[in-house]
Symmetry: C2
Subunit: 140 residues, 2 copies
Amino acid sequence: MTASETWLEQLHDNGYRITAARRAVVHTVFGATHALTPQEVYDAARKIYRALGLVTVYRTLEKLEELHLIQRVHQPVGCQAFIAAGVGHQHLLLCQGCGQVEFFEGDDLDALTRSIARKTGYQINEHWLQLFGLCMNCRS
Amino acid sequence: MTASETWLEQLHDNGYRITAARRAVVHTVFGATHALTPQEVYDAARKIYRALGLVTVYRTLEKLEELHLIQRVHQPVGCQAFIAAGVGHQHLLLCQGCGQVEFFEGDDLDALTRSIARKTGYQINEHWLQLFGLCMNCRS
DNA sequence: TTCCTTACTGAAAATCATTTTCAAATAGTA
DNA sequence: TACTATTTGAAAATGATTTTCAGTAAGGAA
Ligand SMILES: [Mn+2]
Ligand SMILES: [Mn+2]
Ligand SMILES: [Zn+2]
Ligand SMILES: [Zn+2]
């Protein structure tokens, strides 16, 4: 069983059917090392399953996001791209050169959020953190 | 001189003309306490200048962003909203209840970014940080 | 102040991404 | 194998944004 089959299982366990179209989308997104737009998923997945429709890509991404298997990636160039979701408390590190995505963990914003909460009177529930830089390849 | 006239000056200094349409947009966005979409800017600014066209709102927001007077706000509900830009190194704190926007400063991510840089080999250039919570009003 | 050039305007049309509709196909169970 | 609800892709609809264009007006020069 390839790892992407976990996603198919999850789809199945949630009452969704496993189809050739969904296999192609899942396989494409699961294996990606950078965030893909629906159009990019479509182009790549059609190499696996020619008859695929763009509409089905949108519909499948919607379900994968709903099951928290993928997450939307916000970038200066746009916010319509998706990547396999991180596990636990992780954030993204994006290469500004090639678009490669990495996850990292270990950020500790407790002191900061407590301080901001005190100063502003807000009850702070969540945070978004994203790092941008250049990967090893793109540095040279 | 109201504070929003600084923006008009900046437009002028950069070779753009000051028009009634731009005055209305600038005044609207400058005074906003939460991020506004182009349509929201249009609706509000038309109370000041009836003949305003939505197209001009888009065009003016584009210029204000280019001059770093406003910045785009990314939120779960969408990423097409703008707010007056913070000065210096600041980040946003957003109320999940009413959408109110606050800026804060004083985050220190140096230790974190150094650690991530070492682990991943990335050269880290930038970060996005955003806090979400409930403002004093929306807590009760 | 008046004149003149050029940037700016709003309406309408065009474009582009996403969503909806629908009839045919098919997954998955009985 | 037979059945039924889900899923499909094509086409149409939608909605946001951008482009086009002819008229308007800002603002420097005289
Ligand atoms: Mn975190
Ligand atoms: Mn910071
Ligand atoms: Zn790279
Ligand atoms: Zn609030």
